[in-house]
Amino acid sequence: MNCLTNEELQLFIDDELQQSKKEEFNLHLQECKSCAQRLKEQKEFIALIRSQINTDHPAVDMVPPFLGTEIKPVKRRKINVWLKVAAIILPLIVFYSIYSNREETTENKQFTITAEDIMQYEAYNTNIDANTACQQGMVITTVIDQEKEKVETTIN
């Protein structure tokens, strides 16, 4: 028979072979010096690894008390349906109020007259007498209010 493969050698060492195979290998090992030498070396290597692994990590002498029961799992709190509804509605309300406030501010801003607005108005309105402001020390002008009506405004 052929020489044993590494796997067959391992199975032979670990006694994991069928009886017939085992007898066959035994006969071969008696005749083949090379396989017999490999068997010897493999057994020594395994013994060395085994003893090294077990020496490096010996079993502990004292068992510490189990602390796992002190770790309580975090309970999931049930959230009330109304809280869930509120969680949806509240941001909507806040968003709406901010948005509408912003619009209002924009509208107010539209009718807050500044000197710049007036200058701009005057620049496009040829009916305004540019000297009026100089003569009276103020600016008299008209603007369109919210109701789309013209109103007179003065700025000193």
Partner: protein, 167 residues
């Protein structure tokens, strides 16, 4: 109902030792051991019956330790080609002192794939092929082959490590 305290007392040492061999770090070993027994505690509390506590504990330990290893680092993939054929006849650790030998072996084990490392550790722990298959989840028919190949791989890594050490 199984008694948790009895199982804890009986198997703590084995679980700690197995976890230590895989992780090679004391803090991680303590954490994983604790996690394993918390899981056992929960199983027993939920009235789940564990038929073979030792196998169950080893399996959970191996799974948790491998997950931990996978999270922690990347493994060197050793080419399984011609290198496996060379130098396999040297008995590498023989003439080295204990602490150096220990370092070399631990480094070599760390270079194996998690499954390979676990199989060698379980084998060194004296588990049968059947037990190794059950605990590690690999096919029973491939246990012998995997052990044999991993030993050959280990020989190569050990030889390279030793060469590096004494160059």
């Amino acid at each position: 109902m199984q008694n948790f305290s009895e199982l804890y007392q009986q198997y703590y040492s084995s679980v700690f030792s197995l976890s230590g061999k895989i992780l090679n770090n004391r803090d991680d070993t303590a954490d994983i051991t604790q996690e394993v027994f918390i899981k056992l505690y929960q199983e027993i509390n939920n009235n789940n019956i564990i038929l073979y506590p030792k196998t169950w504990l080893y399996k959970v330990t191996v799974n948790k330790a491998i997950n931990h290893l996978n999270r922690k680092k990347e493994f060197v993939q050793l080419e399984e080609n011609d290198n496996l054929k060379k130098g396999a006849d040297d008995c590498i650790l023989d003439e080295i002192d204990q602490s150096t030998r220990s370092n070399i072996l631990n480094n070599a084990l760390d270079k194996l794939k998690p499954t390979e490392k676990v199989v060698i550790i379980l084998y060194s722990d004296g588990l049968s092929y059947k037990e190794i298959a059950e605990v590690s989840g690999i096919n029973l028919n491939t246990v012998g082959k995997l052990i044999s190949r991993t030993f050959e791989k280990l020989k190569i890594i050990l030889k390279d490590n030793k060469d590096e050490l004494f160059d």
